[in-house]
């Protein structure tokens, strides 16, 4: 029973995948809720303090090495940290849902020799850096899409890039190394080979002295390339109202007048009626 393979199952996502999913989700969520309570000094986009105990999700993904485990990280954050605490921001959460799993999964595949400490440190760092870097670019892009006449205000674009860049460096130093690489170096060897049998799975053996280059998975890299624009769109739609903001500019209002507002209202009313009709019919 305890050594059954991970494939034989009646669950659509696999029994062991479900177990690993629940495990990673619960721990990520708990970690999220705990660090939410810890004091944090945040100054606008700059956050100084305990961001997150990222070593917990990353180490667990390195142990289970499945896409499902990686997907459980943002789901855990959404379910425990956002929905339960009422902070859910709808589409904004989709950004993490696209970005985090692909970055972590890509990094987890790089780990080829579980006993090589240097490799472990690099992998944890890459996971965090990749995710944080893409998120920073998305953040900068969002402000560009959102604030009309951004370029017209002297100094504003530069200051946004400066702030986000400094934030990235601070995050990498505190969260990436302090709460990522260093604790992960302790935790991974302690859990490796112990936690997998508890779920009835084989621990990852790897190959002694294998180089990280062998772990560059084409599929995982493609997934990162694919997820990045999707995450950007989700983030942009959530924070800047998507296409509305591009069309609905003050110049447009000056031409057509504020009365033109009736058009989107009628359109949304029609959409609402259609959705309502479909929902009531299917229920």
């Amino acid at each position: 029973m305890s050594t059954s393979s991970a494939t034989g199952s009646r669950f659509s996502i696999g029994k062991h995948n479900m177990m690993a999913f629940i495990l990673v989700m619960s721990l990520t969520g708990l970690q999220n809720a705990v660090t939410e309570i810890l004091p944090e000094f945040s100054l606008g986009p700059l956050e100084i303090g305990v961001g997150e105990f990222v070593f917990i999700p990353i180490v667990l993904i390195l142990l289970f090495r499945t896409y499902w485990a990686a997907l459980a990280v943002p789901v855990g954050e959404i379910v425990f940290g956002e929905i339960l605490l009422g902070e859910f921001d709808g589409l904004g959460a989709m950004e993490g849902l696209f970005l985090i799993p692909v970055c972590y999964y890509f990094a987890a595949k790089l780990l080829q020799d579980p006993e090589n400490t240097t490799q472990l440190a690099i992998v944890v760092f890459v996971a965090e850096a990749l995710e944080e870097f893409l998120a920073t670019i998305i953040d900068i892009g969002k402000v560009y899409v959102g604030v009309e006449e951004l370029e017209a205000v002297a100094g504003l674009p530069e200051s946004i890039i400066v702030l986000e860049g400094v934030d990235f460096l601070v995050q990498m130093a505190i969260t990436g190394i302090g709460f990522g690489v260093i604790p992960a170096l302790y935790l991974y060897p302690k859990l490796h080979g112990k936690i997998e049998p508890l779920l009835g799975m084989e621990p990852f053996q790897g190959r002694r002295g294998a180089s990280m280059a062998g772990g560059v998975s084409i599929k995982a890299s493609l997934a990162v390339l694919l997820a990045f624009p999707l995450a950007f769109v989700a983030g942009a739609v959530s924070e800047v109202g998507g296409a509305i903001n591009v069309v609905w500019e003050p110049e447009f209002l000056a031409v057509y007048g504020q009365h033109f507002i009736a058009v989107p209202i009628v359109v949304s009313a029609v959409i609402a009626i259609i959705v309502w009709y479909r929902v009531t019919r299917s229920a």
Binding site: R10, F11, S12, M18, M19, A20, F21, I22, L23, M25, S26, L27, L30, A33, L38, S42, L43, G44, F53, F55, I56, V75, V79, F80, I83, L84, L85, G86, G90, L91, V143, G146, V147, E148, E149, V153, A154, G155, L156, S159, V162, L187, K190, I195, L198, L199, S238, G241, G242, I244, P250, L253, I265, S268, V275, W276, V279, T280, S282, A283
Partner: protein
């Protein structure tokens, strides 16, 4: 008692924990709680877009007032509101400080205010909707909109498990504290003391991981015993679970009423 200690009293972990758990669990009586979850999701979808239609600061302030009233009615946690208010204010201030070096801070803040207001309106309305809905209702609403049951199960699972995990983790931290010696001198601003607590709270996750691993295995096996995977493809079980969801006049009235309020705000201001 030093100032730091007083501050810690007011924002003690226990007080915040209770506040957050109350947000998650005690929303039975609130106004929005009585509405159909699908209608609330639709309402939220509408309010994701409405703020982007306006540029006047007065109209945006009016909308903010409206969603704030709804948030008060659904009894959102003061802690969360405080966190949000602080982050909004500090974002503006930090942009102003940095632009003071690179350009005109007043113009920058003026350009950012409508944008920030819109984001605030959206976050307040999501706070109102999602803290009043409750994970169980939300799970059923999403299920009836076609989300896979595995995912909606996880929402309700989290809802049940969060307090248990919280308690367990707190106990672990306390037992670690009992078994270890705090630093001899707390140091300036008690930094050694806080570092010690931080290290401890990280180490307490180690036994926690094993506990959760055992629990998740038991959960999955118990679900399988009770036919979870069998019921996934069973239409009758879905129908039974969603039977008491229905859109009533009060739901339509709520959506229509809030649209009317938005129209009034837009016309009057």
């Amino acid at each position: 008692m030093s100032v730091l200690d007083k501050l810690r009293e007011a924002t003690s972990v226990d007080a915040i924990k209770t506040d957050l758990l109350r947000t998650a669990y005690e929303n039975e009586g609130s106004f929005l709680h009585r509405l159909d979850p699908r209608v609330l999701l639709l309402w939220y979808g509408i309010f994701l877009f409405i703020p982007w239609l306006f540029y006047d600061t007065e109209v945006l302030l009016g909308l903010l007032a409206f969603v704030s009233i709804l948030a008060v009615l659904s009894r959102v946690s003061l802690f969360l509101v405080g966190v949000m208010a602080f982050s909004v204010a500090s974002t503006l201030v930090s942009y102003a400080i940095v632009t003071a070096f690179t350009g005109d801070p007043v113009a920058a803040v003026r350009a950012l205010i409508p944008f920030t207001l819109k984001l605030t309106i959206i976050s307040v309305s999501s706070l109102a909707v999602f803290s009043s809905m409750g994970p169980k209702t939300l799970a059923r609403g999403l299920r009836s909109l076609g989300l896979p049951r595995q995912f909606t199960f996880l929402i309700t699972y989290g809802y049940r498990m969060l307090p248990v995990l919280f308690e367990e983790y707190h106990d672990l931290v306390n037992s670690y504290r009992l078994r270890s010696a705090p630093p001899d001198s707390p140091g300036r601003f008690r930094w050694r003391h806080y570092l010690y607590l931080l290290k401890l709270s990280m180490r307490a996750f180690y036994p926690m991981i094993f506990n959760v691993a055992k629990r998740s295995r038991v959960t999955v096996e118990a679900m399988e015993t009770r036919g979870f995977s069998h019921s996934l493809n069973d239409a009758a079980s879905t129908e039974l679970q969603l039977a008491d969801l229905q859109v009533r006049p009060v739901d339509i009235g709520f959506v229509g009423g809030s649209l009317a309020v938005v129209a009034v705000i837009a016309v009057v201001l």
